[in-house]
């Protein structure tokens, strides 16, 4: 691995640390009655309202359609995610320290798998909340209507426009991913030119 690639991986590891403090994902809900918007921030270990009471308000509104309450304590992923992120950060630093191209490749594959699994899990989570409605107590029942928020982008759900998008910590993860990709590219591009620098 060239030195620049090792630095990039180390920087990516540091950027990933931001995921411990900054929100990863953000869901905004805007309706005529809520011009100021309601919003949720998904952090590595919890889900909170953008404003203090937003999650409570979203849960109260969701009772109309029979959606389960979003209770961060009852979402197991939020318990594992800090550990997974921690392992990724430490192992990335290890990759940078070792400077071995093969290790970098293996780590990158694992990192990609974790990101993909995370996105899939988030999609599944949205799917379950949006589909698993309590038809017994739901007040508003519209045949075939489901309320899955978009994975990314905007979608109209009754009177609400739901927008889902990475938040600051999520964008830093995106940048970290890009840095790792550049590091991989550098490692392989430079390999034939100066093989002595590849351990």
């Amino acid at each position: 691995m060239p030195k620049s690639a090792r630095i990039l991986v180390a920087v990516a590891a540091l950027l990933m640390c931001a995921g411990f403090v900054l929100p990863l994902w953000r869901v905004d809900l805007v309706a005529p009655q809520y011009p100021e918007g309601l919003g949720m921030l998904i952090r590595v270990n919890t889900v909170v309202g953008v404003k203090e009471q937003d999650l409570n308000s979203i849960n109260n509104l969701n009772h109309y359609i029979g959606m389960k309450r979003i209770e961060p304590d009852a979402i197991p992923e939020l318990k594992y995610m800090p550990a997974i992120l921690g392992v990724l950060v430490v192992s990335a630093l290890g990759v940078a320290a070792l400077g071995k191209r093969g290790v970098l490749s293996a780590w990158t594959a694992a990192f990609g798998a974790v990101l993909a699994a995370g996105l899939y899990d988030y999609w599944k989570w949205g799917y379950e909340y949006g589909h698993d409605l309590d038809v017994e107590t739901a007040i508003i029942k519209i045949p075939d209507m489901t309320y899955q928020p978009p994975l990314i982008g905007s979608k109209q759900l009754l009177n609400f426009t739901a927008t889902s998008w990475p938040a600051s910590g999520g964008w830093l993860l995106v940048i970290a991913t890009a840095l790792v990709a550049v590091a991989v590219w550098q490692s392989y591009r430079r390999a034939p030119i100066s093989p002595d620098r590849v351990a």
Partner: protein
């Protein structure tokens, strides 16, 4: 002595007044005050979704409330109940708010509000609080401008008609109260003909700078005249307050004539810093009295009424330097201090000049002892020794003056129905505009402070004949908005107002709008009967009292059905609004309740007392259209005959389970 006019009797003034009204009634009415109406419309148009530039707080006069309006649009935003019960939101009806209207006379459900005063810092409106007086049963209230709610009321002892009130000092140290009607002090059963001997006036300074701690700092007993209006000094005159007064004749009947005899009455210059010194030197005595202080706790949101049993009091003559009388022609009404603090403008209701006193000349006159006598030990200064100048022949019936901070004063003329703009220092009239009709107070945002924001002026009119669609014998009251940014005043807008606004205050919206509380935090609630969730609701009996702890949230009450209430019981519905969201109040009403309804803000607990008289089933429902299923937000109370064996139970809307019993009495706080 200078000469003055002219009106020997009020009959003369009456003829002029009638003639003036008649002239207006006959005159062809200008449709837009002489301005191209499209320009005026543009100047006051606030597009849908846009905000007004100013909040205006207008006294409701005899409705006992405050009307909040946006300027320049004149749109009404809110009514804040202060001294009157307000059926719309249960103020003065709910158990939590009833104590606000308690007085030493018992529960007084009404009053007459006149003069709002915004709190100030360094002589500038700061937007923290608004104070207002109750004229009839003397009181002063504080309104918190983060909630637009009355949070504190202090009664004023030994006062009769709290009219000269509650003008405020430049750092909100004090608001004042001066008695309009002198009364026996202490009040007692004496012949009214003993007025001169037994009746006294009082001027009180009320500590204003801390919520919940309004108290009379000192009360000065003064001669038995009628004290009318006031304004605190500012800048160089900070530390002084100037009160107008009439009836120095000390008439006690037919004041219309008998109190209009003297060529001059007085403006009283009161030095509160000197009085603070006298109080520290022990010259005030705690005199027995009985008056109430009512205050709403921020966390319980329950009002408490406490009786205060003494007042720090002194006789004016016992604190030398506390007060001087400045002779002022004839029955002065307004006593207004300009933004520099140098000029005190008096509006002699029957005078044909506007006399202006100079603060610096007054100080020199006091030092030189330029006195023409004294009344009960209070020095009377010579008119010429304090006079800065007179505005000659300005109009008929000068009342109130406001300032633009650019060297001009604006005086309202009740009889000639106009506003006259004149220059401080040269005393020349530079412009005049008609009002429709019989203008009382004027208001310029910050016009009584050191920093007026003189874009607009509002004239508050007493009579609106032919200005609006007629509505039977009583017509709307009205305000008129003028553009005063240029040399000439321009009428922009008429807008109807509630009650009879006397004075008003206005402040740049940005000083208030971002400080608004959107809901009360349920987690912080210390309300004695709060239910923080549906699990905490309950129902219990204490003898003949039934406590129902309920919750309201879109779109149900919990419990929604209650049984086991008996004729002869008093039911207390303690309803907590569980919403934690802006602009989602819930209402609560029960068929046949003889008091009123509740309007419960998010996170708040309010209690409705209900005494059913007959067995039956009584519907209850939410009165504020809260959600798509608002109509479904309802329930029933079953009332059985006394001694019935129906068990006390409440059923939640989530299922038929019975509720746990509430602990008897208020919940204990940890």
């Amino acid at each position: 002595m200078a000469t003055f006019p002219k009106f020997r009797t009020l009959a003369g003034a009456g003829v002029i007044a009638s003639a003036a009204l008649l002239a207006f009634a006959c005159a062809k009415r200008p449709s837009s005050g002489g301005l191209i109406s499209a320009d005026a419309a543009k100047a006051v148009y606030v597009a849908p979704g846009q905000y007004d530039e100013f909040y205006a707080f207008m006294s409701g006069g005899f409705n006992g409330q405050i009307g909040v309006y946006g300027l320049p649009s004149g749109r009404r935003l809110k009514t804040i109940p202060v001294f009157s019960q307000y059926p719309e939101n249960g103020y003065g009806y709910s158990e939590e708010t009833k104590p606000m209207l308690n007085t030493s006379y018992g529960f007084v459900p009404w009053d007459d509000t006149h003069h709002p005063a915004l709190s100030q810092t360094n002589g500038e409106d700061d937007g923290r609080w608004l104070f207002i007086n109750a004229n009839n049963t003397p009181r002063i209230a504080r309104i918190d401008l983060t909630r637009f709610e009355t949070e504190e009321i202090l009664e004023i002892p030994n006062a009769g008609g709290n009219h000269g009130s509650p003008y405020i000092t430049q750092n909100s140290e004090y608001v004042m109260s001066a008695t309009r009607f002198s009364v026996p002090v202490p009040n007692s059963d004496v012949p009214i003909s003993d007025f001169k001997k037994r009746f006294k006036g009082q001027i009180s300074f009320i500590r204003a700078d801390q919520p919940g701690k309004m108290a009379i700092a000192f009360q000065m007993i003064v001669p038995g005249f009628n004290y009318d209006l006031a304004r605190a000094g500012k800048g160089p005159s900070n530390g002084w307050v100037f009160f107008s007064m009439y009836n120095t004749e000390q008439a006690n009947s037919l004041l219309e004539v008998n109190a209009s005899q003297n060529d001059k009455d007085f403006v009283a210059a009161v030095n509160w810093k000197a009085i603070e010194g006298c109080a520290k030197a022990g010259k005030t005595k705690n005199v027995a009295a009985s008056y109430v202080h009512n205050f709403t706790d921020e966390f319980t949101r329950v009002a408490k009424s406490e009786t205060v049993t003494s007042v720090p009091q002194f006789e004016a003559k016992d604190c030398p330097g506390a007060i001087y009388f400045l002779p002022t022609p004839k029955s002065p009404h307004g006593a207004d201090v300009d933004p520099t603090g140098e000029y005190i403008v008096a509006g002699g209701k029957l005078a044909s000049v506007i006399p202006v006193h100079s603060f610096s000349k007054m100080i020199k006159a006091i030092e030189a002892k330029a006195f023409e006598g004294n009344i009960d030990g209070i020095p009377v200064l010579k008119y010429d020794a304090t006079l800065a100048g007179e505005v000659k022949n300005p109009g008929l019936g000068p009342l109130h003056t406001e300032f633009d901070g650019k060297g001009y004063a604006y005086t309202s003329f009740f009889i000639s129905s106009e506003v006259v703009k004149w220059k401080l220092g040269t005393w020349e009239v530079v412009d005049r505009v008609p009002t429709y009709y019989s203008v009382g107070h004027l208001m310029i945002p910050g016009g009584g402070t050191m920093k007026p924001n003189a874009k607009y002026m509002v004239a508050m009119d007493k009579i609106t004949k032919d200005r609006y669609l007629p509505t039977g014998p009583e017509l709307t009251q009205s305000a008129q908005l003028y553009d005063i940014s240029g040399d000439k005043m321009k009428l922009l807008l008429d807008f109807p107002t509630e009650g009879e606004p006397h004075y008003a205050q206005a402040i740049e919206a940005k000083k208030i709008k971002d400080k608004q509380i959107k809901f009360f935090k349920l987690a912080d609630s210390k309300a004695p009967h709060v239910s923080r969730s549906e699990k905490e609701t309950g129902i219990s009996r204490e003898g003949k009292k039934v406590h129902v702890r309920m919750t309201a949230i879109r779109s149900h009450f919990s419990p929604d059905n209650i049984e086991g209430v008996q004729v002869g019981d008093t039911v207390l519905f303690h309803v907590t609004n569980l919403e934690q969201d802006w602009d989602v109040p819930h209402g609560f009403a029960v068929m046949g309740a003889t008091n009123g309804e509740l309007l419960i803000m998010p996170g708040e607990t309010r209690t409705l007392q209900w005494t059913p008289k007959k067995p039956g089933v009584y519907p209850m429902y939410c009165t504020d259209f809260c959600s798509a299923l608002h109509q479904e937000m309802q329930g029933y109370v079953r009332v059985s005959p006394a001694g019935s064996s129906v068990a006390l139970s409440g059923v939640t809307s989530r299922g038929p389970q019975s509720l746990p019993k509430a602990e008897a009495g208020p919940k204990q706080q940890q």
